[in-house]
Amino acid sequence: MAVNFIYPEYEAARNYDRCIACRVCERQCANEAHEYLEDIGKMACDDTKCVNCHRCVALCPTRALKIVSSGNTYKENANWDSKTINELYKQAESGGVLLSSMGSPCGHPVYFDKILINASQVTNPSIDPLREPMETKVFLGAKPREIERGKNGELINNLPPMLCLSMPVMFSAMSYGSLSYNAHECLARAAQKLEICYNTGEGGLHENFYQYGANTIVQVASGRFGVHPQYLNSGAAIEIKMGQGAKPGIGGHLPGTKIIGDISRTRMIPEGSDAISPAPHHDIYSIEDLRQLVYSLKEATGYKKPIIVKIAAVHNVAAIASGIARSGADIIAIDGFRGGTGAAPTRTRDHVGIPIELALASVDQRLRDEGIRDDISIIAGGSIRSSADIIKAIALGADCVYIGTAALLALGCHLCRTCYSGKCNWGIATQEAKLVKRLNPEIGYTRLYNLLTAWRHEIKEMLGGMGINSIESLKGNRLMLRGVGLNEKELDVLGIKHAGDK
């Protein structure tokens, strides 16, 4: 026993002067960390079970609880830090691959934080969005190569199918199964009210959610779970998932314990069987195979839906994107290194892939260099945390962004990074009925709506500050960005100048 003991990183600090032993914390904790000691009439906590999700902190009526760092340390070592040591202990005990949830918490550079945005002074007036129109509407999809005219010279509408969004943000792919039914309902309803889209992920589409089809992106991933003609035709667009930023080169695995009831039916697999998505699509071993799938899906949907191809940001992402742009796909989604996940091997999550800012800048430039940027739209994802990140992503060249973690935070997620346990105390990443019902869809969808409404206001303020009154004039407008503390090469890849440079 002793050799495998790992002292908890965090502990629940209880102020006994405030605690009234109401036992709310005990009832709320699915990890069973809190316990009422009858003989002394006091609450106690087993910190080894605590995941630091803050459910008890938020619900304690007397504010008697907070979670603090336990302060237990190994002998300080710049090479062998405590995280590394603990992970090694766990593997020595289990012989298994380490598993993690959500985006990488490691300290890799966040380039968004090293980029600053411009504003107008004197020579060009800033625009007040409260007084003047400020447009955030975007269209995603390929643009016609040539314009066509009818007999009388009138323009013929030869636009390929497109996604029309009221603002350049969508909810990224998170499957029903990895998320609860209520979480999906929140996303779907918010997408509808915001006139944007959410994404089914690889979990199929629950029959109750077909009503939100116009605001739904249906995903086709390597396991093909839940894919059938009605599903494909129900959405506004179809996304082929080739990769995910949190786990490039890795497939997915939803354990059989979660494949129950509606989830089993929606995914079209037997209850209790593991849902394993292979690492590659086994019908796509090269770019020409991708083209076949793109056109198979177009055939299946009568060429009425734009096709998105989602890839993880990896080293040669620009060349891959160039291939995708020539594959018939209408939109490419690039998922950066810091993107979230329900579960991924820790080593992959923390060591594979590249940051979205660099990948995005490089893809946008490459597609322009090859003259094919108009053939495809770009969605950037992989840790978009605020409206400022959105402005920066669009100025770097994105048409739109995906948010995942940010949306979950709006629903109550406290980033405890234990989604893989299935015991989400906030009712988001769980299938336990008593936990799921904690997420009220009415409140959840309102909070998502509020979040993006707030972001929309902020986007408009920043656009107006730059003297821009339409989001399309920000797209790829890299002169609006400046780097701080970046080296020549980083600036070069991002295609921006350093702050203070002429």
């Binding site: 020579t123 060009n124 323009l155």
Partner: protein, 377 residues
């Protein structure tokens, strides 16, 4: 990004940058006159008009575009070229001889002016593409000529083609515009349309090529404003083979107009709906047919939308278009007298040459004023 060298700067301190090395915002004055009947007038009037708005420029650039001035050579491209030295001139002329039949060449006549200094060699060539070269290139005549202009401007350091249309010409320099007009003896030319520009750059590069109008083939643009969509527009247009060597708004606007009109075949009304597109809210209120057209243009050419303040005059073969940004952040008034239409940043600039205008009005933001010749010349 986009560092390019277009010859040496003229007589400036070493620490100054010229267009192409740095992005320079500028405020300005513009004026234009067009006679719809095609009757030709002297360049005197436009000089008087732009001189009224001296306050709006700061002596760091002025210029004119004149249409219908070379009727005797109307079938030939008139190339106006600045040279740093006679050595570069020889190099450039060798290039021209390899690609064009040169019908006529001469120095552009100028007169010494106190306010105009450091002039480069200024030459004019009337040319037509060599048939063999043209066939070999598999391009149409206009594309071939435009490509050659780009080639000279980017590859022959110290040579700069600043005008290259048929039966039209651009005249520009560093100085106040009225001095520039006198310098080029504009009063000796007769044309059916003139535009003028007085520049107020916020930096002092003082390079002649950086003055306005900016022209490509027979399209010329004078522009007052500073567009906020610049880099979005630049990066988009460069994808179609244009090179924005000057980093000025006027350059990118000219390329956008060339792209939309010559390459995509849009009408000037449609071009106005692209670069100063109606707001989505306005489009939603349109009749279904109109709505479809505007939606189509906005979606297809979203990267050619121009935001931020601008008022522009676009000269082209057979007409003139005036357009302001959709919020009307720059002034522009239109006056009419018989067949003659005046457009200027300020009403005074029209009144000085025609005190008794039939009508004076200010176009709304994003509303194009397109004046075409009644009949071809």
């Amino acid at each position: 990004m986009g560092q390019s060298n277009i010859g040496q700067s003229y007589g400036n301190g070493e620490n100054r940058y010229k267009e192409g090395q740095i992005r320079i915002p500028a405020g300005c004055a513009i004026s234009g006159i067009i006679d719809k009947s095609g009757r030709r007038m002297s360049g005197e009037a436009i000089i008087k008009s732009i001189a009224v708005m001296r306050e709006r420029s700061n002596g760091l650039g002025g210029g004119f575009a004149a249409y219908g001035i070379y009727p005797e050579y109307k079938d030939y491209y008139a190339l106006h070229i600045f040279y740093d030295s006679s050595h570069i001139k020889r190099e450039c002329e060798e290039f021209l001889e390899r690609h064009f039949d040169i019908i006529n060449l001469s120095k552009i006549p100028t007169r010494k002016m106190k306010g105009i200094t450091d002039e480069p060699l200024i030459w004019r060539y009337f040319v037509t593409p060599l048939p063999t070269k043209l066939a070999e290139s598999q391009l149409d005549e206009r594309e071939f000529t435009a490509k050659c202009m780009f080639r000279i401007n980017t590859h022959i350091e110290g040579a700069y083609v600043f005008s290259g249309g048929k039966n039209m010409g651009v005249f520009k320099a560093v100085g106040y515009p009225e001095d520039v007009g006198r310098f080029y003896r504009l009063e000796d030319y007769e044309g059916w349309c003139f535009t003028a520009h007085g520049r107020y750059p916020t930096n002092t590069p003082g390079w002649w090529g950086g003055a306005h109008p900016f022209a490509l083939l027979d399209y010329s643009v004078v522009h007052n404003g500073e567009i906020s969509s610049y880099d979005a527009n630049r990066r988009a247009i460069e994808m179609y083979g244009y090179k924005c060597t000057l980093q000025t708004d006027t350059e990118v606007i000219t390329y956008i107009i060339d792209y939309l009109h010559r390459k995509k075949g849009l009408t000037f009304e449609e071009i106005a709906s692209v670069i100063a597109a109606p707001f989505w809210k306005t489009i939603e209120r349109m009749t279904p047919k109109k709505r479809q057209i505007h939606e189509y243009l906005r979606v297809t050419f979203s990267a050619q939308l121009i935001t931020g303040p601008f008022s522009i005059l676009v000269g082209f073969e057979g007409g003139l278009m005036a357009l302001g940004d959709r919020l009307k952040l720059r002034s522009m008034v239109v006056g009419e007298k018989g067949d003659i239409v005046y457009i200027a940043s300020e009403e005074a600039a029209m009144r000085i040459i025609e005190p008794n205008l039939d009508a004076v009005w200010a176009p709304k933001g994003g509303q194009p004023v397109i004046i075409c010749l009644n009949q071809e010349k």
